[in-house]
Point group: C2
Chain length 226, copies 2
Amino acid sequence: MTEKPTEFPRHRPDGGAVKSLPDVLLHRRATRSFKPDPVPDEYLRAILALGTQAPSGYNLQPWRFIVVREAANRQRLMRAAFNQTKIGEAPVVIIALGMKNEWKALAEEVFREGAERRAGSRDWQKYMESAMGFLGTQAMNAWVTKHTMIAFTTMMYVAEAYGFDTAPMEGFDAAAVKREFAVPDEAEVIALLAIGYASGEDKPYGGRFELERVVFDERYGQPARA
Amino acid sequence: MTEKPTEFPRHRPDGGAVKSLPDVLLHRRATRSFKPDPVPDEYLRAILALGTQAPSGYNLQPWRFIVVREAANRQRLMRAAFNQTKIGEAPVVIIALGMKNEWKALAEEVFREGAERRAGSRDWQKYMESAMGFLGTQAMNAWVTKHTMIAFTTMMYVAEAYGFDTAPMEGFDAAAVKREFAVPDEAEVIALLAIGYASGEDKPYGGRFELERVVFDERYGQPARA
């Protein structure tokens, strides 16, 4: 495995300051239409490298990402995703996958290296055995979704912090995406992320449930005091 | 539904600047042990209010969060989570839930209000019907996990940006958590997030797979050029 990235842009492509997280959260909109302007390579690499700094269960990183930039491939992806035109427009679309089996073959590397780095238990074989027992109780479709979404969300926010616009998408035919992009059967196709620059007006804010409706105090159903 | 939050802290509790997202991503560690120092109410509210600005499919927000602060309840949660001591130590632990049915009863409100705000299709009934058709093809355990994890990840990063330490956890007995916190049967218990201030040294960095191993170009298996 490798170390943290040290080379990544400290400014937006236009020289502006990287947006703060509250700013990203309050101004991010799901982009409906993109300009053809490209995402510079150093920014795409930063989005991927910083995005994969996300945590995952036991550091198993069951996520994989396909970066689709070629126009013909974006057209193929668009057809597998109910013809959403933004996929054909955006200069970059990332396909996020969760691998339900591959992590098992990589677990020994992850646990052994975790012990060497003193990040995991020193008795890594016993720790791995206990982890494998726990993970055997988990529904793998939901488990890979859980961890892949941490990295996916991270990439979306890094892209927005650098001043790009994004569109997360869940509307696609997973079997078609797998067929078109040589994705193994064991994979869950979890989400798509288009990155670029918005064309036209932002989609208006759709509102959110009042906090009291979705946050409870101490037990389910007891509205938050805060 | 309601508008974006306008009142949230512009600084860390100690007066320091809110951390940038790259800074959060490079310095965040899964915290092993917490001090008893509390998370001030205005910060907890900001973590929740900004966290729920996360996007979700069709804006359905199938997430729910239980905020556990009382010591006796954190002890109960700790026992339902393999006795992880950090749950008993941290001043706040959030239980993230995904509701597999409740969103269906709320969909009309979401789609109608989306149309009123011009965020969704004006013909909201037809749009809702098509969404319901699509969602009917999705495995609900993975679907609620997908969307809840966007908000969960957002809360984790907002807390870190404000200078708190966090510990995301997936190790718990979901049935026991449901029993102890009056959680309905239809819920998926997805993850726990402890928030507070770290006690002792940070866990060392466990490393990440080289980008070339997890990012592919144009098709699965083709290592990234970048």
